[in-house]
Amino acid sequence: MDNLIRYVENELLDDSRIPSFRAGDNVEVSYKIVEGSKERIQKFRGDVIKVEGEGKRKSFTVRKISGNVGVERVFPFSCPNVVEVKVLKYGKVRRSKLYYLRGRIGKKAKIKERKFIKK
């Protein structure tokens, strides 16, 4: 029975507009906001601190420091309101969940960049 639910979910799932990235990467998420009859696109830029789930429930969390306050937002891959995700930087991290960033501020909360150097 569960595989019939999964079949329905996978049939309706379209996350092809979202590129592949992982925790530590710096991304800019464009998402649609509906205010009454008006629609506009808002952008949220920050570091991906986790990618979790599978299929329809797959989601990622982006963390940024706004002013002096840490802000986190969870975006489902399946949500059509997530219009576009741009990967700006690749991060060099050794964890898949970067919860340790929550306790850090300033320079310590910075993620080293992963650079691709030709040999």
Partner: protein, 206 residues
């Protein structure tokens, strides 16, 4: 009234055009067999009898075996009659989800609700109980209170709502939208929750 018999599979959610999340129930409606067609001339009313779900022949009574044989069908577990069926059908035909329903239809769904066992009046009838847990209140938090007067009428009226077996009632939920149909897997997506546990039979009427 058109309809089909299906089984409740479980719930999920989908996104609509506005990006709003809609809770949906997945219903598996395997092809239903027409096992009897009743008409004004033969039965004084118009109806169609549908059947679904497989059943072993040794567990089927001889009378029912004959009934199914008339429709050229193997024995079925669930048999339901629909009054005034609009789609013209013949004995032995099979009906699938896409024959009866389409996207955007509003349907009524009938099922048997989940059994809750012996429950008190708060859960069973929505009594409010005693408001306070403190202030001298001892052990009557979820008690029903008075069930009647004393020497007159000297009895409890019939139908007084009390504790007892809860659930397993026939429940009809009206005006649910058909969100999507998957003809290749005989699945119907219906907006909202349906009565009953997973795997239970539900009757979908249009």
């Amino acid at each position: 009234m058109n309809g089909l018999i299906g089984t409740k599979i479980g719930m999920t959610s989908i996104y609509d055009e506005q990006g709003k999340q809609i809770p949906c129930t997945v219903v598996l409606a395997e092809p239903n067999v027409v096992t009897q067609v009743k008409t004004e001339e033969t039965d004084q009313y118009n109806a169609v009898q549908l059947a679904t779900g497989s059943k072993k022949e040794k567990n089927t009574s001889k009378a029912l075996q004959g009934h199914f044989a008339k429709a050229n069908s193997s024995p079925k577990r669930k048999v339901v009659e629909f009054r005034d069926f609009d789609i013209p059908v013949n004995l032995g035909d099979t009906l699938t989800a896409s024959d009866v329903f389409e996207r955007g239809d509003f349907v009524n769904v009938i099922g048997v609700s989940k059994g809750k066992g012996f429950q008190g009046v708060v859960k069973r009838h929505g009594f409010r109980g005693v408001g306070d847990a403190t202030h001298g209140q001892h052990n009557r938090l979820r008690a029903p209170g008075s069930i009647g007067a004393a020497s007159y009428p000297a009895r409890v009226f019939k139908g007084m709502r009390m504790a007892g077996r809860t659930g397993t009632d026939r429940v009809k939920i009206q005006n649910l939208e058909v969100v999507k149909i998957f003809p290749e897997k005989n699945l119907i997506l219906i907006k909202g929750a349906l009565p009953g546990h997973k795997g239970s039979y539900v009757i979908i009427e249009k």
